[in-house]
Symmetry: D2
Subunit: 434 residues, 4 copies
């Protein structure tokens, strides 16, 4: 069976690369992946998957970090022109992107795979490999600089292979294409919509340039719990020479908040972090600044520690604003939890790879980043299921860091990973008990 | 008459110097001037003045910056031993010092003079003139370093001269010996007790080493309105290595308050000042500081501006404390207002001096300090009366700044000023209408 | 003669309004007034004035707050297309705008008038009077929101009237059209170029909506000395979750600088101000901010006090940056001085108006803003000459504040002021001695 | 042999308790343990140990946190009166306290034990057990509130037992009585004096109220590396109302330093801490504070991290001072390192106890405090030797925290620990190789 899977994956290698390049050329930011989601939905539909989109897979009030409504509508209308006949696109109106494709067979066991689909607000640099091959981003300030384009292609590859071995699979399959992973904004709303309620096993993947194509690492995890939030301090302007006392200085409030948020006591129970990544205040040199916007994030070794940081930051922001007669508006823009791959499942997958698949198993240091698949992993594990994240090598042969305009990958990783996931699903379906 | 006054003043010159030296040797801080007040009361009593002391001249709840009760009682008990027979001392128990001596004759016009009587918490330096003459402070940490000892002697000199010319005086006389001027704490409680309700003219004096003995300046004023207040920020301690997150850091709150209080916007309507003169926080190097004490003062070109600073500071303190889960206790320790000598009265006095008295009229720059006679001046002026403060030269012939352990005066200023005030009162009594 | 001037001014009333509206429609920011300056130069040229432009009237290295070279060149090239034949425009290339027009007659006395010509970076609001009449700004983010369009028209009106009475004028005339007044950037470079070296009298005007058209106020002044400067704090980025210790946090440095700059001690010698009007820092929520830009201004009752603030701010910025291992780059963007209208000249002008001109003399409170004509006034006064600024009423009949998108004026003020200046020049030329 | 040791320890039980109570009654702070050291030296001398004291065991320039010379001399002179005949005391003059007692027998192996001897600046509370028994501290502000009095008695008990089994011991013995452990000030100077150069095994103990008498825990460690330092910021005073601009405000500098030191970035390589435990600034409410004193400590999971914190703090202090034209003086007051008990030695000791000694082995969580025996442990381990710290239960049966005035111990722990150490030394001497 694993040989059959491998052969199938090689057959679709070029097609998957084409898909990845098309997605790369048309990047869409979180909650606006209208084109991307429509293409995925149509693709899965054609293969016979049961498609769910829109509010049924994204809980409206649990979406985090959603952009301005008008901006979302503009993008929706633009994409609508190209997909007039789509049965799915209209359900995404208002920013309800993402797709869930189910292959339900009445089995006891459901195995889900999750692929994230959004791009980053990064300008692609001119000297990238994509320029040469003609698939550079056509959107000036957007780029798939984190490999989610490859994740989509991998997911669609899986959808084909799975269908080809469907009769031999003793489980239901659920393919989750998640919007708005960047800024850890999307997973929460999907969990809240209940799409993981019936899942026993969850598999996630992420390309990594720390490994070469052909190398994999099982059992990623240890992500920081994190909260992304924006604060807007609102004061009153005044002429700085004429009547400074009439102003309510939002910048002094913000400066006070910045210093004091970084002074939140270190916690004895584990690692904590805080960062005010951006601050923008004021309108003119000779006007008391009446508005200051801060983009902030907290992190913690676990969610209790992240909450500790968040609560302390909130108290500081509120009091810094009041100190100057200002008000402050705090808005959660993203949230993720810490999580770990299930130990038994990790060992099982390593054994499967070792015995059956032509990939090299590696061990890397755990990243100290955050990934909102953690929210899904925790949901599945809390329900008694198991979850795993696998890092798949994509090093293009030169230095190429994610989240930069120069990011590139070795496209060989795509079909290989489609095959890997299919093989793992096949074996996991055979495990005696959850 | 002026010649008669001058002769009398020279006759009592030595006696007044002795009084000043005795007071200098036994300095008493604000609200504990038990010995000083008793001596004054007995002196005036003997001359036939009607004496009022205690709660009748000091409104209990309007006293500012009163020390610890126990401390006051200790000092009271100590002084009590030396004045067992005094009819007045017992009324001062609890910190109700100060004396008012009235010479009421049923006249329409009442002229008051005010003399402040408290010493400073300053250690007298060994090389002072007082060491040589044997009248150095016997109290280690207290010293008459602002000349109030001379003011008392001047006031008692006035009481004698006035009595000697009483039949020629067409007015009632009120001699006010005010406690707790340092830190602008005492005047307010006397005003509130109503002792200025019947006053038409108020005269105040202050020695100044910017002028030589024999030089005077009429019409001082333009004092800053000011508020003296203490803030105590109360948090919670914790071991700084073991569990820093359990602490509520009063020092971080205090540091935030200090920086932000100095950042209060400059006011377009006039001069403002703020100073955190002292800060003391913490108990040990390895403990999160659970207590921070701040001694603060605000000033303003007028009381509206002082209030502006005070309110802004209060808001900053409260929010700085809350920011760290601390509380703050703010206590007003002193308060004074801005005030100006009445213009007509100043010109009248200058004319009297110019024509009748052997003193040189000078003009200096206005000080930017604060003096709580301002509270009394404003009360009298608000009631339609007039007020004046006169600076009297006391330069001892070498550099000698007030509020330092080296402060010294030329004692010639004492009897001269007693004479000056008596002459002025005599002439002011003759002014046609208030 | 005053009647003749008045009649002439009314004759050109409509023409001047047209000029003002054309300028209003095509606003240009400081150092890029290419179209504006060319129009002025051609206008004066035609009337027979001797024209000087470019580096001869603007000292290259003394220009403050000059924009990016590329941006200036773009605007220059655009304007060049419309004025191919101009003898003057090419000399302005690189941002050397402004015009000086001389009517030299070998007289001993030279009377100069100054008009500022630049627009503001403000978006004109749609409901303005200019929309209705069809002369709204065609440049999205630029607007004559401070009346300099009217000043230009007034100046050109003066140039005509002066020429018509030239034979009766016993003086040389110099018309100065100054670039880059906003942000007090242009006057200094003109003074340094020497254009005021031969000036005995300098007259300036400014429209004010505090007065109605027909009302004037002589002798404005008391402007704050001010320095406008930008600071860029440069640190190093780092991932805020992964390796925060590798960053050099420019935002923490900036927050420290902001708080401490506002804490610079109030100065006993007079009014001081400081404002950080804008702060922009950071690149992304999860990156230690490596760059912070601050737009700052200091002010003082005189230039010594402004220097005090500037030096203190500079020290704070440098040490705040070093504290975090960052560097700081400080750039002066504008500078002006305090100045006062010459008292005798003010009284003389008031007398001329009172006796000869149908305008109402008013007295307002002195503004606490800054105006860089101060640099020119001080230059003339230091050389023994006299200077005056006159406020001319322009209230449009509804609330309309300068430096807002709603700013509007009563255009009646234009020809009236052209007449007023011409009359004053005529009389000043007759004063016996400078 | 272990039975013999146990019996001997019980024989001296009461004597050791008497010693402990005598030391408790006469506590001495670090670097002034003149009486304590003299008693120890005489005691060991009498038992035949070779005594070294003074500069030979304490490297003069490596002493940290030494008090004022005059204060030390006063205490020395006072103690001198009671020990006129001592051969050792005079060598301690100037603050060179501590004692090393050697039993050298020409063996290859040297086993050292370390006991710390200083008291804390804490006032003993009246309701303590010591009051009842009549051995409360006779020094108002000093108390053995950390059990070092017991440590001394334990050490002297060891010295007796060891001597009684000396012929059976196949090793040299070194007893180290270390001064100034509180504030981690003394160990460094002893290491630098070379007293550990010949040591193969080092044993340390500390009483702990987390365990009952009879319970022990082997292998303490994981102490934080730490630096204790004081900073004095020196500015210039000025009258806060009159001429605030003439001051250099040390309190504003200190507040800036406090906030920014707490903002030092969290380090990705491990735990870090900082605390400003005490701040005291200013002289009077109306004077710009010219002096601010800060007591600070940094900690790190290892000494690299502690250095990171220290260097960042230093940079912040220097720049905060310069920002206000102040200077800063930074003085290291104590320093310790992280360290861990040797694993093999710990297991060996546990086995010895388990098999031979009537004490209960416990496991507690590692403390996050600091202990300067770490400096000695690291020295021995770096030289190829082994080291261990053992916690010995001393819970008195009620809540009684160290470093408080209520601290008390169960004195049963004393002779038991003397026996324990003797037994361990006996067995360690028999280990095949170091």
């Amino acid at each position: 069976m694993h040989e059959q899977i491998r052969e199938y994956s090689e057959k679709i290698r070029n097609k998957l690369i084409e898909i990845r390049r098309d997605i790369h050329k048309h990047p869409e930011a979180g909650w606006t992946e209208f084109r991307t989601s429509t293409i995925i939905a149509e693709y899965l539909d054609e293969l016979g998957y049961e498609i769910t989109v829109g509010r049924d897979i994204v809980s409206e009030n649990d979406r985090l970090g959603v952009s301005d409504e008008k901006y979302i509508d503009e993008l929706f209308n633009e994409v609508s022109k190209d997909f007039v006949d789509s049965r799915y696109l209209h359900k995404m109106e208002g920013g309800f992107t993402g797709v869930v494709g189910d292959m339900r067979k009445g089995k006891d066991r459901t195995i889900a795979m999750r692929f994230d689909i959004d791009a980053l607000k990064i300008k692609e640099s001119g000297d990238n490999i994509s320029t040469e091959k003609g698939f550079s981003s056509v959107k000036g300030n957007l780029m798939h600089a984190c490999g989610h384009d490859a994740h989509i292609a991998i997911g669609l590859g899986v959808s084909e292979i799975i269908r080809s071995i469907n009769d031999d699979l003793d489980c239901n399959i659920k393919l989750i294409f998640q919007p708005a992973e960047e800024g850890v904004r999307g997973a929460y709303a999907m969990v809240k919509a209940g799409i993981l309620d019936d899942v026993d096993y969850l598999l996630g993947i992420h390309v990594t340039n720390d490994l070469k194509a052909g190398e994999v690492e099982c059992g990623l995890g240890g992500y920081f719990a994190t909260t992304k939030f924006d604060a807007e301090i609102i004061g009153n302007p005044a002429h700085s020479g004429g009547t400074p006392e009439l102003g309510n200085n939002s910048l002094l409030a913000a400066a006070t908040a910045v210093l004091n948020m970084h002074s939140i006591p270190r916690h004895s129970k584990g690692i904590t972090r805080i960062n005010v990544g951006m601050l923008s205040a004021g309108t003119d040199r000779n006007v008391i600044p009446d508005n200051a916007k801060l983009n902030i994030e907290t992190r913690g070794e676990n969610s209790e520690l992240d909450e500790y940081m968040l609560n302390a930051a909130r108290r500081i922001l509120i009091n810094s604003a009041e100190m100057y007669g200002c008000t402050v508006d705090i808005k959660i823009m993203g949230k993720s939890d810490t999580s770990y791959s299930s130990k038994n499942l990790t060992e099982y997958c390593e054994k499967v790879i070792d015995e059956n698949i032509d990939l090299k198993l590696c061990r890397n240091i755990p990243s100290l980043g955050s990934e909102d698949i953690a929210m899904m992993m925790n949901k599945v594990q809390d329900d008694g299921g198991k979850a795993i994240v696998i890092g798949v090598g994509s090093n293009p042969g030169f230095k190429s860091r994610p989240h930069t305009g120069e990011f590139a990958i070795d496209e060989e990783c795509i079909h290989k990973t489609s095959g890997l996931l299919s093989s793992l699903v096949y074996e996991i379906a055979k495990i005696d008990s959850v």
